[in-house]
């Protein structure tokens, strides 16, 4: 009957719906939505600058107006006399002998001690009952400076009469650096570059300059310190690594770490700029001094002085190749300007040197990377971390080499592309997929956007042209260019660092449903780590509802939200703790129900859809019945494979854990008469290992790509070479891409699993920031025929005016 009816309307054999129950919804691999999304769109999500406490005071920092000077005197009396001012603190008021802090080298004074080493260095603190009162009081502090000569570049840093930024250094790098104004030096020597150079048919070299980039996260440095009855302090702050902050804060306050209780407030972006301390110690000092809660919020001007920037760099490169395009050797020298304090400079040097060859096979190399101490603004972590500067230079070199060989630039790259098994210049084998040639093939095979895309039936749409709504051209003088680049970024902390994370996972029955709670100290800075934690818990524990506790120091360290490492390391820790919880749940199940079904003892058991099931899919029990009123909780640390330090002379060593690869193709249109650039399309292909949340993965790739675009054509902190003062500390003068500056960013995601990583995933956040900049530069060179060996490119570089 049924069949007859069907035949009447549709032919037999017509495909029908097929359905399949999913295991646990919202698990890994799905684009689940952010658990904090609703709060963020309603304005209720509390960022660190939104913190409020009854009776709170406002803190203000007085910063140096000069880059290098002795402090002759500080007079705080007038500031203290202002109505509404509760405290004014200088170096003399610091409570203990620990008066410096720093990520690796404790060279940064909490408040200036008789000398300032860069423009904007903190000199004094004020607490008052209104932010404007605090600002005006700070302006009434009289500081007399005696200016000193400034160190601004390599020549002035190592000159015979160079002032030493940090006389009497006793850090662990001072023994192997050629000059005390050099923070760290990492050479890498492998093979015989001189002998290999003799085999080269073509040799190209170049000098490249990379400008100082700012992270320009939108949520300013801010937080609230609340003094506690036990003499300790509760600190609510936006940071990338709570426990690293804690380790630096507590000794300065003279408190044991357990009396400095830190909670992560809402973080408005980070990108490396919150790896170092900003207002943390200052707010705590003022709160402990006044006995009142103290809130500090930087404005944008202060934010430009309140965090480290991306190291500007000078890079010299030489590449050789045989006539058929095979690389013979590479020599390079990378000079990073670390500014007045060390911050993350040593690690940036390690990255720049070990990744200086790029994703290519070169057996004979001679590499040197150094970071300087200067009186320029301190530089440290920013997305891409040393690999960005190198990629800009080696990709320019690859194009130069292709031109000298009369080869297609993509073909040259593919011919020399690294693969799984290739040795890095450090001698370390790349032991997971490295689809470098394939990524290039993918971006190249994408159709190009149509020519003269600005033309409409109603004439030129100026919004699609260089100069945009300034209406500077309707297509006259506009030339198109196309450029390619590819890069390699390490994932996780390298060079022997004990890189681990901690996750506490609890499972219990609430309202008849099994639910999980995940507690880590991971800083959610916008990347979506908490989204992924919930997905991992669902996948591993078979629950629907997962609660993510706020990140704080009541749980063990999660390490930093940087180095593309959090999904790998804290994600790995959450998975590991979930597995331990699962074991305990199954133990309870065996105790309760083991005698009812032999599978409890014999089968591989999983938790799926709120049930205990066998790997064959047979349901053994509801989780609610298994757990009843028992609560299972595990807190455990998890680490990735250990790494080794690089040899200080040869640079050899298995220093890295994992790599991430991305390639870009940039299509630009350049108004050659005015020197204006419009990027039309910036296509990216990236291998992500496994996309735990595809929507978030694409968001990361597009965001990273755009930061690379920014430093290609607009972003640079300008430091006066004579005074070492910052000239453009505002969003009026430091430009980041707007929606009009940002092109379509099509993304092609590859998922080639890394067998060593949880779920096969790769850390993905940084790789797209590497290749985007050189791709845009290559496209502008392609359009204009100019050499363009510095970034960002400004109109005068294109017009020669």
């Amino acid at each position: 009957m049924t069949q007859h009816t069907r035949v009447a309307s549709t032919p037999a054999g017509t495909p029908t719906d097929v359905t399949q129950g999913s295991r646990t919804r919202g698990g890994i691999g799905e684009s689940t939505l952010r658990p904090d999304g609703t709060l963020k769109v309603t304005g209720e999500f509390a960022y660190s600058s939104d913190m409020w406490h009854e009776d709170m005071l406002w803190g203000q920092i007085l910063r140096s107006t000069v880059a290098h000077a002795e402090i002759v005197s500080i007079d705080t009396s007038e500031a203290l006399a202002q109505a509404g001012v509760y405290a004014v603190l200088t170096y003399e008021d610091l409570p203990t002998e620990v008066r410096n802090y720093g990520l690796e080298i404790q060279d940064t004074p909490v408040l200036a001690n008789g000398v300032v080493r860069h423009h904007g260095e903190p000199v004094a603190l004020v607490a008052a009952d209104h932010p404007e009162t605090a600002r005006r009081a700070a302006a009434k502090i009289k500081v007399e400076y005696r200016e000193l000569p400034v160190v601004t570049d390599e020549a002035s840093a190592v000159a015979e009469d160079a002032p030493l930024l940090h006389p009497g250094r006793d850090d662990h790098h001072v023994g192997h650096v050629p000059h005390p104004n050099i923070v760290h030096r990492q050479p890498i020597v492998r093979g015989d570059a001189d002998a290999a150079a003799a085999r080269a048919d073509v040799v190209v070299s170049g000098e490249y300059t990379f400008g100082m980039q700012d992270q320009a996260f939108l949520g300013p440095e801010s937080g609230l310190a609340v003094p506690a009855e036990d003499g300790g302090v509760d600190l609510y702050v936006a940071t990338q690594w709570l426990h690293s902050d804690l380790r630096q804060i507590a000794p300065v306050l003279g408190l044991p770490e357990e009396k400095v209780r830190m909670t992560l407030s809402g973080v408005g972006g980070a990108f490396g700029g919150r790896e170092d301390l900003s207002m943390q110690i200052h707010a705590c000092l003022l709160a402990l001094r006044t006995g009142k809660p103290v809130k500090i919020v930087y404005n944008r001007f202060e934010s430009f002085f309140g965090h480290v920037h991306r190291h500007p760099a000078k890079l010299w490169y030489e590449h050789g190749a045989t006539r058929d395009g095979k690389l013979t050797h590479m020599r390079c020298r990378i000079v990073l300007d670390g500014g007045a304090y060390a911050s993350a400079s040593p690690a940036v040097v390690g990255n720049a040197s070990s990744l200086s060859v790029g994703p290519y096979v070169v057996d004979d190399v001679d590499i040197e990377a150094i970071a300087l101490y200067t009186n320029n603004p301190p530089c440290g972590a920013m997305r891409g971390f040393g690999a960005v500067q190198a990629c800009f230079a080696y990709e320019a070199q690859m194009d130069k080499l292709a031109a000298a060989l009369d080869m297609d630039p993509v073909a040259l790259r593919q011919l020399n592309a690294m693969e799984q098994g290739t040795l890095l210049p450090t001698g370390q084998p790349v032991d997971s997929p490295a689809p470098v040639a394939e990524l290039l093939r993918r971006v190249k095979s994408r159709p190009l956007p149509p020519e003269r895309q600005w033309e409409t039936t109603e004439g030129a749409d100026v919004r699609a042209l260089p100069g945009g709504l300034s209406n500077t051209t309707h297509g006259e003088g506009v030339v198109r260019g196309v450029g390619y680049a590819v890069g390699i970024k390490n994932v996780g902390f390298s060079e022997g660092f004990d890189d681990y994370s901690t996750a506490k996972v609890r499972m219990e029955v609430v309202g008849g449903e099994p639910v999980a709670t995940v507690h880590t100290a991971m800083a959610e800075v916008g990347q979506g780590g908490i989204t992924v934690h919930a997905q991992i818990a669902r996948t591993e524990l078979g629950v629907t509802q997962v609660t993510i506790n706020p990140a704080d120091t009541q749980v063990g360290s999660a390490g930093s939200t940087s180095a593309s490492r959090q999904t790998y390391v804290t994600g790995g820790a959450v998975r590991n703790s979930c597995e331990l919880v699962r074991d305990k749940v199954l133990e309870i199940g065996r105790r309760r129900f083991g005698s009812y079904h032999p599978a409890w003892a014999t089968a591989e058991l999983l938790l799926e859809g709120g049930k205990v099931v066998t790997d064959g899919g047979e349901v053994l029990a509801d989780l609610a019945e298994v757990l009843q009123d028992e609560v299972v909780e595990v807190e455990a640390e998890w680490r990735h494979r250990p790494t080794e330090a690089f040899d200080l002379r040869t640079g050899q060593g298995n220093g890295h854990v994992q790599y991430s690869f991305a390639a870009h193709r940039a299509v630009v249109e350049v108004d050659t008469e005015l020197g204006l650039v419009k990027v039309i399309e910036l296509a990216c292909a990236q291998d992500v290992g496994k996309a735990l949340n595809p929507l978030s993965v694409i968001g990361q790739i597009q965001g990273g790509t755009t930061q690379g675009l920014g430093v290609a054509v607009m972003e640079e902190i300008i430091v006066d070479p004579k005074t070492a003062k910052v000239r453009n500390p505002s969003f009026t003068d430091y430009l980041i891409p707007t929606i009009l500056d940002t092109p379509t960013i099509p993304v092609d995601v590859l998922e080639l699993a890394d067998e060593h990583a949880p779920y096969g995933l790769r850390g993905i956040g940084e790789a797209p920031t590497l290749s985007s900049t050189p791709a845009v530069l290559a496209a502008i060179r392609n359009a204009t025929g100019l050499e363009l060996n510095r970034t960002p490119v400004r109109p005068e570089h294109l017009t020669g005016t």
């Binding site: 304005g43 509390a46 919020v297």
Partner: protein, 200 residues
Amino acid sequence: MRVNFTVNGRRQEADDVWEGESLLYVLRERLGLPGSKNACEQGECGSCTVRLDGVPVCSCLVAAGQVEGREVVTVEGLADYARQREEGCASGACGGAPGGTSLQDARGWSAQGTDSHTGEGTELAPIQQAFIDAGAVQCGFCTPGLLVAADEMLERNPSPTDEDIREALSGNLCRCTGYEKILDAVRLAAARQERQEEAV
């Protein structure tokens, strides 16, 4: 000084306001409405965008005294504003105190949302829902300003081209997303709006 104005349909009175205080400061620090954000406080980033008598403005550039007797809508009031527009009552079309709570609404009031922790179940404006669905929110600091600006654009221009969207949102900086998902979100909100209108 004392400033009287309407915020999200409610009359508000701010006392002891300094002459130099911005509308942004009064909203955030005096009225407990920190949804409008303080990314640059100099009119470059758009994170503090609110509507002042319907017009999108950077609230950091508006002196608090300038809003005396005027109406402000912030991201916290966006869902109500969108609902009232849907019902044809926004912009004072229904007379009386626009944006105010009617007696009937007040009687029917119940706690919004099913989860005080995550805000799940909260009634959202279409543009807010679209931002979540499209993945346009990362750190979220630019989001409130973008939502107010995008909602206003869709009110004026329900079927925007990509270039229209880019132009309308060019005063709002975002550092996380590269803007692609924001474009997706606005397109999505426009498409849903169109579909809903076709259904009516």
